[in-house]
Subunit: 480 residues, 2 copies
């Protein structure tokens, strides 16, 4: 690992991001433009995210299943909005088994079409509803401006696809996913605070009646759409001929939702918490929550190595993910540096002098503080410090988000200036018309990230763009 300093976030955030992702061993580019290789350290973070999401998806009554990767082009094309939205990004298989295919197959950019064409077989009666299904899968969307984790030609995600008897049930499902699955994971596990909101019409998922979103703010003042849940109404059911006999014996179309969270969340962790020295991982997603570095020359110091192994054993028994870095080829300073770049929450240094004093030195990555701790206290203290780091990173990110949110722009020009400089979120009244939305975008590159669900709305407001009565509050930002 290079020991040259990282680019500074304030000098060149994209360069900092790319270099941190590379040096921490999260991911790298592959031979195919825009397709990334997720390296073991990055994949371990994704596995932790998967596990947390999957637990919540199951706890809210959903089951996993798996649909095929390849979708007949004709099936994908049946939903007009969907194909219009995705056509420019689709990869197409035209030959297989040594022959031209009679019908080209799309590599799934998303699975609504294939799944709803199948639900037509699965749903006959109201007794078959709801269908509460999710799949973990890869999807391909041809990206023109790829960036590791954030925009990649192939990405990993989960996509939920549910069918319900009533609109109310489908809407409730969308919000359950938004709050209890996504926001809970993203805030409590990834320590990324999110705004909950609805998308404006121009930012909706193709074919959706409403798209609900979680919007996070990165350290460069740009927003990251962290996860979305779509209320799809009856459109997909109509298009794919999904019909059931209702309680009153009449034919009905079920109501649909779909929702997804992707590997871009790993990028969100990097850009929310990282600093000029590297990653800072929230303990709940850190592959190693504690790394112990024995300070001993070669194999000489058996006592030190034994003590390190003993401390590791105790931490492991206490449920902590711990690694002993006893690689002989590297000096302690190199290992400390690596822990910093990789964002290991706690580093434990253990040398002969510490042993004699009956202590170890514990370094907190988030604050850069060091402390001597009595050997016997390590398991309990480490657990408490990990909890504190988890809470502290969330608090810090919340403060940062608050600090960077302009609640009272003081006029159109000031708001657009703030957004153009990627100052952060700007919240203001909006009349709901597309041309005002477009004007802000033209003037600042910022888009409406969401119409917030849980903010106090301005008592009475005017559209910041045109001065007409505001339909509500919108939050703008430049976005990834």
């Amino acid at each position: 690992m290079s020991s040259a300093p990282l680019p500074r976030q304030s000098d060149d955030f994209p360069a900092w991001y790319g270099e941190v992702v590379r040096r921490a061993g999260l991911a790298e580019s592959s031979a195919i433009r825009g397709a990334m290789i997720i390296k073991p350290y990055g994949y371990a973070i994704w596995e932790a995210i998967q596990r947390e999401l999957d637990d919540r998806i199951k706890a809210t009554g959903h089951e996993n299943l798996y649909f095929p990767l390849l979708v007949p082009a004709s099936v994908l094309a049946r939903e007009g909005d969907l194909i219009e939205g995705f056509a420019p990004e689709v990869a197409v298989v035209t030959a297989a088994g040594g022959k031209e295919l009679e019908e080209p197959l799309a590599v799934r950019p998303t699975s609504e079409a294939l799944i709803w064409s199948t639900y037509a077989r699965w749903v006959q009666s109201y007794r078959d509803l709801p269908l509460l299904y999710n799949q973990w899968a890869n999807v391909v969307r041809w990206e023109l401006r790829p960036r590791l984790f954030l925009r990649t030609t192939e990405f990993l995600w989960q996509e939920g696809h549910t069918a319900h008897e009533t609109e109310a049930e489908a809407l409730a499902e969308t919000l359950t996913i938004l709050h209890d699955v996504y926001a809970d994971t993203i805030e409590q596990v990834l320590a990324i605070p999110v705004l909950r909101g609805r998308k404006s019409e121009s930012e909706r998922f193709p074919g959706a009646v409403d798209t609900y979103t979680l919007e996070a703010l990165m350290r460069d003042g740009r927003a990251l759409q962290a996860a979305t849940a779509h209320y799809l109404g009856q459109g997909f059911a109509r298009t794919f001929g999904v019909r059931y006999t209702g309680r009153d014996g009449r034919p009905e179309h079920p109501y649909a939702t779909s929702w997804g969270a992707t590997t871009r969340l790993v990028g969100g962790v990097v850009m929310t918490h990282g600093d000029d020295r590297g990653l800072r991982l929230p303990p709940r997603v850190a592959p190693h929550q504690v790394v112990i570095v024995p300070i001993a020359r070669g194999d000489e110091d058996a006592e030190v190595h034994e003590a390190a192994a003993a401390v590791a054993g105790e931490l492991r028994s206490a449920g902590v993910r711990v690694r002993v870095d006893d690689r002989p080829g590297h000096r302690p300073g190199f290992k400390f540096h690596e822990c910093e770049v990789k964002g290991v929450p706690l580093r434990v240094e253990l040398g002969r002098r510490d042993l004699a004093a009956g202590t170890v030195t514990v370094a907190r990555r988030d604050r850069g503080e060091k402390e001597a701790i009595r050997l016997a206290d390590v398991p309990a203290r480490a657990a408490a410090m990990l909890d504190d780091i988890q809470a502290s990173l969330l608090r810090e990110a919340r403060d940062e988000q608050r600090r960077r949110t302009l609640r009272d722009p003081g006029g159109y020009d000031a708001m657009v200036g703030y957004l153009r400089d990627a100052g952060g979120f700007a919240a203001a009244g909006w009349c709901g018309r597309r041309d005002c939305e477009a004007r802000v975008k033209d003037d600042s590159s910022a888009t409406i990230r969401c119409l917030p669900l849980d903010w106090e709305h301005p008592s009475a407001g005017a559209c910041i763009c045109c001065g007409r009565a505001a339909a509500g509050e919108a939050v703008w930002a430049q976005a990834y």
Copy 2:
């Protein structure tokens, strides 16, 4: 669910298999020939298999990562044997993002080529070795004769790809995977007994020096290759220019292994344990180990429903995966039948009469036995019965494999007749020559499944085909 009897295994095994997979809700065909939809019950079995394999893969020192789905055709083509082996099965993306691609991209049929072209960047020094990596992924191989789980155009698997300093280390890795990861999971979790062996040259993985295999025997006397681990020598390293500086300062090529296990294991569970009444799932992979059926009319019998919930709670606390089937729309008889078809290891029936007597009725799916058990004893007895079912299914399958293994064929014609009738495994001496192997195949459709690792070899033997001195013992069978 249809209540018509299943086709009998002895009458039409393929029809039985297809119908069990359908009725138990494991999988179904999709709009694309050969690509299956894995339904929630089938996927839950796969998730259990994944978890068990993944635990063992990590316990043996490997880390997960993820490589892209699409492989430039030129990269795939660099390894001559590999492309020759897979060319007829590859699906090709020729357009993406609305344009013809300059270079076609193969949908990965396996990832050796892409991974070894990347290892060229990752391996510089002997200190970078070993690389012990695995990925969970989907692959596509165009199948002409698809069958649910067993041969599908797309399947899910894990593929391990390791690089080592020495041949001895790479060989040891191959055997660790074969024994400690695959055989341990397949025998102890799936209760499928396997023969461990090496493949003959004609059955090797394209590009492998040696392929190690686990061969299971299905209830129709046909073999299923359950998992394979390949020792790849230095071929891939040479082809893809992977070179490192050795301990003595000289340039070296690392030694490679690769290994995979797939969703076909779900089919193996069905065909090893299923009987004429449906699936019989080993408890360790059963999505529901116990299903409790309250016997009460509608919501009338609150007491029965409460008791069922209480028993379920106790079982859950004891670590048992339990489901209470309180669907109001179905009669107990229907639910019992469904439990049978779905292979639920233990069914607990609980009615008002049982409650009054302080007992429940417990039905074991494997033996079809029913027993009254005191309410207070249910958690402990159920746990013990689940252990017993797990052991018993393995024992039964072992006995069946032994019974169907012809150890002393009594001449070529007898062996070929036995194999042609899909009697099972036939073990006999083999000279090692391809034309003897081909002759058996022509005469019986059977192939050499493996050259067993752990059987006592015949003291002195002759090739069953040509009478020349045997190089060792081979095991033949017709295979999936």
